[in-house]
């Protein structure tokens, strides 16, 4: 199982949207995909028409009260989901009193090895919190999602700094990759940011830039991945291309 942590220090950079639709694109390729919503805002959960009011969520999995296997939900598009709930915000406070809480997710996911081909972790917008630290320790690839707008590059560089610090503190070495999101080629600022990102991140930046699309908003409203709502849309093409890249791209040292 290859695990990706979608992270950025900046909110609104497209982490949740990328997580949902990338999971949908991978599932459409016949991959067994697990999506874990680690954001207490639970937008990925809502975006897949799920909720965890009366059922176990990521909090119980992280604290060890429930096994990960018992928290799995079937979501649209052939995706398996471990949902989130507002009570996940308690995790930071509860885990702060315990030793080794940064490795909780890694331990919880160990029994799922072999059951899934890919696991996507949708992180909260705080890159220096315990939830993101858990995701980074549990993943093989940190996927920085960078919106192609003003201040986005600064957010990405800050997140990269935090990730580098976390990696230096641990003995794990996940690779760092970057995906450009919300790209609108009609906007000069978007084109400038993409050129700057290519200069800054080089081969770490995926070839596919996810274009902004009204279809993605509609898919969020419908609670399904874009592959179910508009499989021929440009957004679906972008996520399919990104899924291909994930499958084909070599690991960068």
């Amino acid at each position: 199982m290859h695990t990706y942590a979608l992270a950025n220090h900046k909110g609104g950079s497209g982490k949740t949207t990328t997580a949902i639709h990338l999971a949908g694109a991978l599932a459409a390729r016949g991959r067994r995909v697990l999506l874990i919503d680690l954001d207490p805002q639970a937008h990925a959960t809502l975006g897949l028409s799920s909720e965890a009011e009366d059922s176990p969520c990521a909090l119980e999995v992280l604290t060890g009260e429930v096994r990960a296997l018992d928290a799995l939900h079937a979501a649209p598009g052939g995706i398996t989901l471990i949902p989130s709930h507002g009570r996940l915000a308690e995790f930071e406070e509860r885990a702060a009193r315990e030793l080794g809480s940064e490795g909780a997710l890694r331990r919880a996911l160990a029994p799922l090895e072999g059951r899934f081909d890919e696991c996507l972790l949708d992180c909260p917008p705080r890159a220096d919190g315990l939830l993101t630290a858990n995701a980074i320790r549990a993943c093989d690839t940190v996927l920085l999602t960078v919106e192609t707008g003003a201040f986005a590059l600064q957010g990405a560089l800050k997140a990269q700094e935090i990730v580098d610090e976390l990696l230096a503190a641990s003995r794990l070495a996940p690779e760092l990759r970057v995906v450009a999101t919300m790209f609108d080629r009609r906007l000069r600022i978007a084109r400038e940011v993409l050129i700057a990102m290519q200069a800054r991140f080089g081969a770490r930046l995926y070839d596919t830039a996810i274009r902004s699309s009204a279809r993605l908003r509609e898919a969020a409203g419908a609670g399904v991945p874009i592959q179910l709502l508009a499989p021929r849309s440009s957004a679906a093409q972008d996520f399919a291309a990104l899924a291909d890249e994930l499958a084909l791209s070599p690991v960068l040292a």
């Binding site: 400038e192 993409l194 070839d207 399919a240």
Partner: protein, 250 residues
């Protein structure tokens, strides 16, 4: 992301265009430029004018990121500021004094950026005089820019061409005026820029000329290659322009 993927994201339909170009054997922007326009049009499933435009955009991007085939150089800081500036690094070496008088180059005229300069050269307009003589309407159509922009550029070109022939001294004066982009670079790497912008012999001649004209070149004016106008105001302007060029991303 390689340069071809960047090109397809910026000017094409992203992964669809990228796949078509790769199927046609393209790996870099350079490969796109080497492809026959008709073959490119067939590969992109589009018409010839769109293929021509795509090649023009590929040429501009390659010049912009300083690449023809190789990987993009890593930019350590001020990425966006550098990306927002016209491709100074990719511009050809500074022309001689005589050439500079007539050859079109970015920033020579207000509003003439590197992209437009490349497109003008692609149309065979390489000198200020050529620009001044060209038909404004045809040029606007070919460049796909508003005719008012062409008319304004032609006005500036005619004025520059008229001024140029007056005296040799005056020729030196305006060709060695510090351009906005030169001032930015000069501030960051004065030694290199001085070497690029004005050969030593020329600099000495300019200083002699300034003395004759009772100008007092300030310290560092040589480094800025500002010639007779390398006074404090020019230096102050350089600072102001730098901060503008860096924009909100500095």
């Amino acid at each position: 992301m390689d340069s071809l993927a960047l090109l397809c994201s910026l000017y094409g339909q992203g992964p669809v265009t990228l796949r078509r170009l790769r199927d046609a054997g393209c790996r870099t922007c350079d490969d796109v430029l080497c492809l026959e326009p008709t073959k490119l049009a067939r590969a992109l499933r589009t018409r010839r004018p769109a293929a021509d435009r795509f090649q023009r955009e590929a040429r501009e991007l390659a010049a912009r990121i300083g690449e023809f085939g190789g990987p993009a150089p890593a930019i350590e800081s001020n990425e966006l500021a550098a990306a927002s500036e016209p491709a100074l690094e990719a511009a050809p070496s500074e022309p001689t004094l005589e050439e500079a008088g007539s050859q079109l180059r970015p920033e020579l005229l207000d509003g003439l950026d590197s992209a437009l300069c490349l497109r003008l050269r692609a149309l065979g307009i390489e000198r200020v005089e050529d620009l001044a003589r060209a038909d404004a309407l045809d040029l606007a159509r070919s460049l796909e820019v508003p005719v008012t922009r062409v008319v304004r550029l032609q006005f500036l070109a005619r004025r520059l061409a008229d001024t140029r022939v007056e005296t040799e001294s005056e020729l030196r004066t305006f060709t060695l005026l510090p351009r906005r982009s030169q001032l930015s670079v000069a501030r960051f790497s004065p030694a290199e820029s001085a070497g690029e912008l004005a050969p030593l012999a020329e600099q000495e001649r300019m200083e002699d000329w300034a003395r004759e004209q009772a100008f007092e070149p300030v310290e560092g004016a040589g480094e800025l290659a500002a010639g007779p106008f390398g006074h404090a105001a020019a230096c102050a302007e350089a600072g102001a322009l730098d901060s503008k060029a860096a924009g909100p991303f500095a």
